[in-house]
Subunit: 342 residues, 2 copies
DNA sequence: CGAAGTCCTG
DNA sequence: CAGGACTTCG
């Protein structure tokens, strides 16, 4: 049996908005750790991985692991019936064929109850390989969304080049070419090109050491790399005003929460440049240049409503990881690079 | 070679929004005075004339006159990649086949670079005849836009009648007729019907005196007519709160600039009625009544984002001039009246 | 056809 | 101020 209470319906609503276009049906895998959803997108090109941690719920109880096969369109419909600040209780009996949703609002005396049909979904749970990335770019989610949308008006794909000074997104189109450069904001970790290989090895070792829980920490891992920490210390002039850097997202989730409460999605994007950390941090072991389909990136960027910051992680010929972390969990997207020039 | 830097991308964005529906391709004629664009609309009914004065740019350099053949849709796409407060640098080498645009923002460390293909456009530069208008109506741009939009739901054309007391816009439709009267705000120049002819002569003389630079000042000229100035003095009760009158647009560009910075297009239109000069001024030598296609006027009215005020200038059987002036230049539209009743 | 932004209304 | 509807764009 699953019984979980979420403080704010908006989280779930935003989550669904973010992924419903990519995935139509998926299993929410419930266990004592929380809810996880993992699915290939409809055209089997991108992978979506959602996590809602048990401790992100105000109440959480899951006696034994169970999959909830959900049609995301249906769930979206139901969630649209909730107000953003409603509390949501999710309830499913073992082997139940339906999910029960209860929407409550302390302020008003209104409650809503919904039962949504569940479905059996055969879904191989894909193992996501642990990857140590050569480049990790943390930037404002709105900025990333903006760049993807802009460039998608010019062309189909974007080349993302992460260098020590910044990251460049460029697209070629019939009528115009465009290139956007984000300069890294001082904290960038710079490895000399020739130092890259040894650095990479270090990461490899580290990974073995860390073992099985890497799945959670691919990005974090790089940030916590000792040598990188050293470099950070050298550049800690901006340490104080970093509120949304990816480490703090883990250490200090409450700050994040406040921020999300105060700003609805649309505003958040606009305010990103003013109120949130609008800096760009690049953690680089090696210069990386890869090309991706903008159509997917634009889609991923819908998750901007969930978090003011996004992290892009790249390594040569490995899928790009686009990650949005928020208080209750995270959404991660994986997208394989385009090969050759197209 | 052209090299020009504009303080705010928004000017260019708004300009394109204003005219891109009317004109698909056009030459930006660059010379040391600035950029000029002149084109018939796609159906060769209306004429659009844009001027961006060299001194409206923070930097401007144009060694020798050159036309930049631009597809406005392409340029619009590129400009959409700029933020409103980005600085824009335009750069084109002599005989270059592309225009280079650089978007920079002091606040952020983001820059965008775009190369847009140019095209060869055979374009006869049309001489716009100097006209002294019988009636000139200055009114809030939003008001004009609203009237045109409203009436266009009723019928195809609007009859604009300028009289001493005000201006009447009326449209006949199948289901309903409509007529909107804007009363002139006291400052109107009233010539008695029989005095009209002598007044007209005065204008004629004046025009000869002013000579070749009339092209810029058709409207202003009428406003600065001595007799009109007198009338103004008689009615100067509103002189103090006129912030957006067309003369001040020339004399006090900085005020205007501030206003444009603080208010994005949408707000501006809403605030027009509240914060800006919402008065209607009519300069009249002779009663004029002409009929125009609403479709075009609605299109012209898109320029409202560029200026809170618009000026309509009419004379019998001569094209209507709809003019929006702003700090960096102006957009003018010419539209021939409909003949007969339809 | 779906999504995003804008406008308008309660 | 927020929610819903419309319009326009992709």
């Amino acid at each position: 049996m699953l019984e979980a209470r979420l403080q704010q319906a908006s989280i779930l609503k935003k989550l669904l908005d973010a992924i419903k276009e990519l995935v139509t049906d998926a299993n929410f895998e419930c266990d004592e750790e929380g809810l996880k959803l993992q699915a290939m997108d409809n055209s089997h090109v991108a992978l979506v991985a959602v996590e809602l941690q048990a401790d992100g719920f105000t109440e959480y109880r899951c006696d034994r692991p169970m999959p909830l096969g959900v049609n995301l369109a249906s769930l979206t419909k139901v969630m649209k019936c909730a107000r953003d600040d409603d509390q949501v209780q999710l309830k499913a009996n073992d082997n139940a064929d339906s999910l029960h949703l209860l929407f409550e609002n302390e302020a008003t005396d209104r409650t809503g109850e919904y039962d949504m049909k569940l479905m059996d979904i055969d879904q191989e749970h894909l193992g996501i390989p642990d990857t140590s990335y050569d480049a990790t770019i943390a930037l404002p989610a709105g900025e990333f969304a903006n760049i993807c949308r802009n460039l998608s008006t010019l062309g189909e794909s974007v080349k993302i080049e992460a260098g020590k000074d910044g990251v460049r997104f460029s697209a070629d189109g019939e009528s115009a070419n465009g290139s956007i450069l984000l300069k890294s904001s001082g904290r960038a970790t710079v490895s000399k090109p020739d130092a890259g290989s040894s650095k990479k090895k270090e990461n490899g070792v580290k990974k073995e050491k860390k073992g099985g829980n890497d799945d959670d920490d691919e990005v974090k891992e790089e940030d916590e790399d000792d040598e990188i920490q050293e470099v950070k210390a050298d550049n800690d002039d901006d340490e104080d005003d970093d509120e949304d850097d990816e480490e703090e997202e883990e250490e200090d989730g409450k700050k994040r929460k406040k921020k999300q409460k105060s700003g609805p999605a649309k505003k958040q994007r606009k305010q990103d440049r003013d109120e949130s950390d609008d800096k760009v941090y690049i953690t680089l072991n090696q210069h990386v240049s890869l090309t991706f389909s903008l159509k997917y990136l634009v889609n991923f960027a819908k998750s901007s409503s969930l978090s003011p910051r996004v992290t892009l992680s790249m390594s040569g010929d490995v899928p790009l990881l686009v990650e949005y972390k928020f208080e209750q969990g995270s959404v991660r997207y994986y997208l394989a690079p385009k090969i050759g020039d197209e």
